[in-house]
Structure formats: structure tokens, C-alpha cells
């Protein structure tokens, strides 16, 4: 019968600093004082994050709301300049009477609205949708203004995103959106 090897051992040493030369506590009050300062700084930082969130710095709030208008004010685009990944939001396109021609509105949106901003639904349903020119061209039936087209977004990934929207007969609106992870 073979003897099993004995486990490796080492001498037990009392290397914990003693408090008042009596109790082996290992207190490090200098470190702890620095940590208390760090803790306070972290809570101030956390407080700032909460305030920023309430204001909408990270999206879904007052500061996140943005509007862009064509010079002739034919089209008003309302969107959120700060979005969150996988979080739904609405992009509104308000069309004035000038942009309605023959009972129709033709809208071009760049491909990034679908690919980067995750356009999931467009309301109302367009009469036709055509691909080309690195985007999509939709034709909507329209009567009189105010008329609003809504595009539901849900960005699939984080980062700075650019997009372009153009209503036939008006200038293009270009905008950027930052998507938080």
C-alpha cells in the first residue's frame, strides 16, 4: 500500500498589524479615510446621473426632445436626439399644406432610419414604398394639413447615428441621434 504524499504546509505567521500593540485587527484608517472621500464622490456622481436622467440627458426626457424644420416650414421633424438601444420611441413628421400635392405626400427616409434606428412601424400605411438612392420612398394619401406621419423606432445598437428625411418639394432635413447602450 503506497503512502499518499503529505500536503504542502507553511508556518502560520501573525502578520496582521496590531492595534495598540494588543489586538491583531489590521485596521488601515488612512485607507478608510480616502475610501470615505471616494464614496462621497461616487454618491455625488450617482446623484448627477439621476438628475441628468430626469432631465433627459440619456434620452426619454425634456432635453432629449429635438425639432428640425425646413426653411419653408413645410415639414417639421420631431425626434429624440438621445435614444436608448432596444427602447421604443416615435419620430414625428408634421406635413404642412404646401407639401401635399394631388392628395399625396411623398417622403424619402435614408436607409439608416431602418438599419441604425430600427424603424419598426410606419403610420399611416403608405400607398407605395420604393427602395433606391440608399433609402426608402413612401407615398401617403393626404387631405389637408395638419398631417402627421409617425415612424416607430427601436435602435438595435449603440453609437452616433445620422439620418435624412425629405418630403418632395421641400429641402432635406439631416439630423443626428446618439444611441445609448
Amino acid at each position: 500500500m503506497s503512502m499518499s504524499a503529505s500536503p504542502i504546509t507553511r508556518r502560520v505567521e501573525d502578520d496582521v498589524p496590531r492595534y495598540n500593540d494588543e489586538v491583531a485587527v489590521g485596521e488601515d484608517l488612512e485607507f478608510q479615510r480616502k475610501w470615505w472621500k471616494f464614496e462621497n464622490a461616487v454618491w455625488v456622481f450617482f446623484g448627477i446621473i439621476i438628475v441628468c436622467d430626469v432631465l433627459g440627458v440619456f434620452g426619454r426626457g425634456w432635453l432629449a426632445k429635438a425639432q428640425a424644420t425646413t426653411p419653408d416650414r413645410a415639414v417639421v421633424l420631431s425626434y429624440e436626439r438621445m435614444e436608448r438601444a432596444f427602447t421604443p420611441s416615435i419620430l414625428d413628421l408634421e406635413i404642412s399644406q404646401n407639401a401635399i400635392r394631388d392628395g399625396k405626400v411623398t417622403v424619402f427616409v435614408s436607409g439608416s432610419v431602418v438599419k441604425d434606428l430600427g424603424a419598426a412601424r410606419i403610420s399611416p400605411q403608405p400607398l407605395t414604398s420604393t427602395i433606391g438612392n440608399d433609402g426608402y420612398t413612401y407615398v401617403f394619401p393626404a387631405t389637408t394639413s395638419p398631417a402627421t406621419i409617425q415612424i416607430a423606432l427601436s435602435p438595435p445598437s449603440a453609437g452616433l447615428r445620422h439620418f435624412r428625411v425629405q418630403v418632395a418639394g421641400s429641402e432635406a432635413i439631416e439630423a443626428s441621434v446618439f444611441v445609448f447602450p
Binding site: V25, G26, F31, Q32, W35, W36, F38, V42, F86, S157
Partner: protein, 146 residues
């Protein structure tokens, strides 16, 4: 891939948040602690999964968190400084029968907490306590006068 990054961020963010919460005297889990555990745990998992509810993703995240935990535990065993950062350091609350106000105020420890620890250590009264030490896990060790 994104889930792994989220899991790493989530782990260290959670570690920081839990670490900057004060050590609760008594070290046991109270009802209040359950609220924190369930709420924070539930919230962080939603962000970490990143819309991918597959078993593959769940397994990868669990393995990642396991690796991180093992790495932090290894770093703690190798470096006392890392141990102090992750778990904190023991602090003397009562020094030769005198309460240390600075430490007790900063750690939100009351005389009542020390009294409870005194009784738990089978020491009849506070005036027989030589030292009381707030341990890294939140428990209070009491050393009676000789």
C-alpha cells in the same frame, strides 16, 4: 459578444454600487437587503441580456460572471490592497472602552449596534468591552476587558 461586454460592465458597476453602500451592522440579510438584492439583480439582468434571451447567451453570461468572480477572488488573495478595495478593511469601533465617533459616524454604526454585538458575545454590559471591531463582512467582534 455585446452581452459579454454588458456582463463585464454590469459586474463591475454592481460591485462598485454594493461596495459604496455602507456595511450593515449585523452582517445577516434583512428584509431591506432582500429588496436591494431582488430589485438590483432583476434590473441588471434585463440590461445584460441585451434582447437575446437564448440559452446560449445565458450560458455565456453565467460563465463570464463566473470568470470575473474567480479573477477578483484570485486578485484579493494575491494583493491585500485589492482585498481592501473590494471588501474594505476591519475598523475599530470601541478603543479601550471608548467609542470612536469618527468611525462610527462614517460607517453609520450606532451605540445600539455595539450593544447588540456585546450581548451576542455574552458580555453583560458595554463598560466591560475593551475593543469592538467592525469586520469586513459587517459583523462586530467584541473583545471584553480582562
Amino acid at each position: 459578444m455585446v452581452s459579454i461586454v454588458y456582463a463585464v460592465c454590469g459586474y463591475f458597476f454592481l460591485l462598485l454600487t454594493v461596495r459604496v453602500l455602507k456595511r450593515r451592522a449585523g452582517s445577516g440579510i434583512s428584509m431591506l437587503d432582500f429588496v436591494l438584492i431582488f430589485l438590483i439583480g432583476g434590473v441588471i439582468i434585463l440590461g445584460t441580456m441585451a434582447q437575446d434571451r437564448s440559452m446560449t447567451n445565458a450560458v455565456c453570461i453565467v460563465i463570464t460572471v463566473g470568470f470575473l468572480h474567480r479573477t477578483v477572488a484570485w486578485a484579493k488573495s494575491k494583493s491585500p490592497r485589492v482585498g481592501a478595495l473590494v471588501d474594505g478593511v476591519p475598523l475599530v469601533l470601541v478603543d479601550r472602552g471608548q467609542s470612536r465617533k469618527e468611525v462610527m459616524d462614517h460607517m453609520r454604526i450606532t451605540d445600539l449596534d455595539v450593544d447588540i454585538a456585546t450581548r451576542a458575545a455574552r458580555v453583560p454590559s458595554r463598560d466591560q468591552v475593551e475593543y469592538a471591531v467592525l469586520e469586513r463582512n459587517g459583523s462586530i467582534s467584541v473583545i471584553p476587558k480582562k
